[in-house]
């Protein structure tokens, strides 16, 4: 009997579910709004409802192997407990497994969404050919997500809280982060941080091209990117600063783990031409392996750094895939 899994991606805005099988890939996703304010129990009902719908659609001639839910962190594993999740206000302390597993007759897997996305990118995206032994992904979105895949499997850390590189300090005296620290990577490399810093530029009467562009629309990271592409020097420097922050954090990752590949995902990765030159320069300067690799007699190539390929479905895909990788 053919087997499939159900992957779910729980976001602060939308809850999505789709069937997955290694043969057919990801089915069409069902999407409902995440009723964050109704509390976790209401959303757990929505999750079970979606699982029921996908299951009904698949019919009785295929076997459901398991369900995996990818959720925003910080998510303690394996219990699936949220700890002050910035995108799920009021869910602090809620432990998903206790509520969901008893209502399912198949195994339930829980995972941090950035980890699930990294798993998909490793197996089906940027990592699919090289199958890098140590793979790291940074997802530049509302925040900065991070996932690690080692020897083909997610590296979760002791409590599921590995992969928080978005909270590496890159500027010890920098801006306040949502986590309470100052100068985290997230304060300089998330889409949110681009908007916040662009607002400051506009307040200071700088970024002339951006000022013209913004007159007709609301300010967004994409618009700042457009201004930079059109030559706005202040907007360009803003992305260069993002690149330096990314390079600094990547250097810490490289110094600790000596990985084989780092992929950059998320909406912000579209601005790759704007931030990657300063990112790579900073990485080369701040990472021991990269410095050593500058020598001609050193190893063939240091860690590869490249754009992710999968886009917004990576978390959902990773959730579906994870069920097939677990024994």
């Amino acid at each position: 009997m053919r087997e499939y899994s159900i992957g779910l991606d729980l976001g602060g805005t939308n809850l999505r579910a789709a069937r997955f099988s290694p043969e057919d890939g990801l089915g069409e996703a069902r999407t409902v709004a995440t009723r964050v304010n109704m509390g976790p129990d209401a959303v757990m009902e929505d999750i079970l409802e979606l699982v029921g719908q996908v299951r009904a659609e698949a019919g009785p001639h295929q076997r459901l192997r398991g369900v995996c839910l990818a959720a925003p962190g910080p998510l303690e594993l394996p219990v699936g407990r949220f700890h002050q999740p910035p995108n799920l206000a009021g869910w602090h302390g809620f432990a998903m497994r206790d509520v969901l597993q008893p209502r399912l007759d198949v195994p339930l897997y829980l995972e941090n969404d950035a980890n699930a996305a990294a798993l998909a990118e490793y197996h089906l995206g940027a990592g699919r050919e090289a199958k890098p032994r140590i793979f790291c992904m940074l997802t530049l979105g509302t925040g900065v997500g991070n996932g690690l895949v080692m020897e083909g499997r997610i590296f979760d850390g002791v409590r599921g809280l590995a992969g928080e590189a978005g909270h590496i300090t890159v500027d010890p005296a920098g801006a306040l982060c949502g986590c309470g620290n100052v100068g985290c990577l997230e304060t300089l490399a998330s889409a949110t941080s681009v908007v916040v810093r662009a607002e400051r530029l506009l307040t200071e009467g700088r970024a002339p091209r951006l000022r013209t562009l913004v007159e007709n629309r609301g300010l967004s990271a994409a618009l700042v990117s457009k201004a930079a592409e059109e030559g706005d020097a202040d907007a360009r420097e803003l992305f260069a600063e993002t690149g330096r922050a990314l390079g600094m954090a990547m250097a810490a990752i490289v110094n600790i783990l000596d990985p084989e590949m780092i992929a950059v995902a998320g909406g912000m990765s579209a601005a790759w031409p704007l931030f990657s030159p300063s990112m790579l320069e900073e990485l080369r300067r701040r990472s021991y392996v990269f410095r050593l690799a500058e020598d001609a007699t050193a190893f063939e190539r240091p860690c590869r750094v490249l754009r992710a390929e999968l886009g917004a479905d990576a978390g959902l895909l990773g959730a579906g895939l994870l069920v097939f990788l677990e024994r």
Copy 2:
């Protein structure tokens, strides 16, 4: 037949060798001066000579299972190639395995010395009871070494160059490091850095207690530590700065890996009472897991941070032990 291994610790000053068995532990070490300036081939002969001596001593009624050499980094593995090693000047590009393995009739294992020390500390020192799933050690000596042990085994990275946390940038505009970067942890947390910074204090006419102490002796990290213990405010601030640098780098490690235990080893760890308060404060501020753990409903305890137990034999012990852990 009883089995033993031979562990060797190749340092910039001394080369040491000892037999090891799980039953009897580490035998008495034989030590010769490392003839760094005679070049790697001469030292390889010394290594083989020491192996022969230890083997003769063990006699024919015990079986030699393997030989493991712990050497200073950067050491590319598994080939054992040095890349501009700061403590072995002129050895750049030398690949040990090619020279040593053909002259041995037992398996040869090569490892970075900080990794070998971490392995010993995990199995026989600070980690022996808790057996932390993810264990990290920082060795504060001439430089800052770093080793990772995951699930009981050394984590080497893709090329053997994982565990270079000594080169994490903790002060983006800091002092020049031997690696070519500025503001590495090593520039603020090695014994060398304590002496360099203390010299600066003395040049500036500060650190009065240290000035008195140093009149009778040469300046050393131990003397700066003594001055701090005796109340010298400038010397105390120097160690507080070391602590902040350590806390910053540990926070990066915690944010990336979510480890269970971090041990601090090396000569400088004797100054624990002087640097650990600011280290732990900075770690709490800069690490997401530690911040979350401040909440009473969060997980029981975050990563444990403590002093290593084994002392200067850790590298040698780890080398001997490694042979028994490899299959």
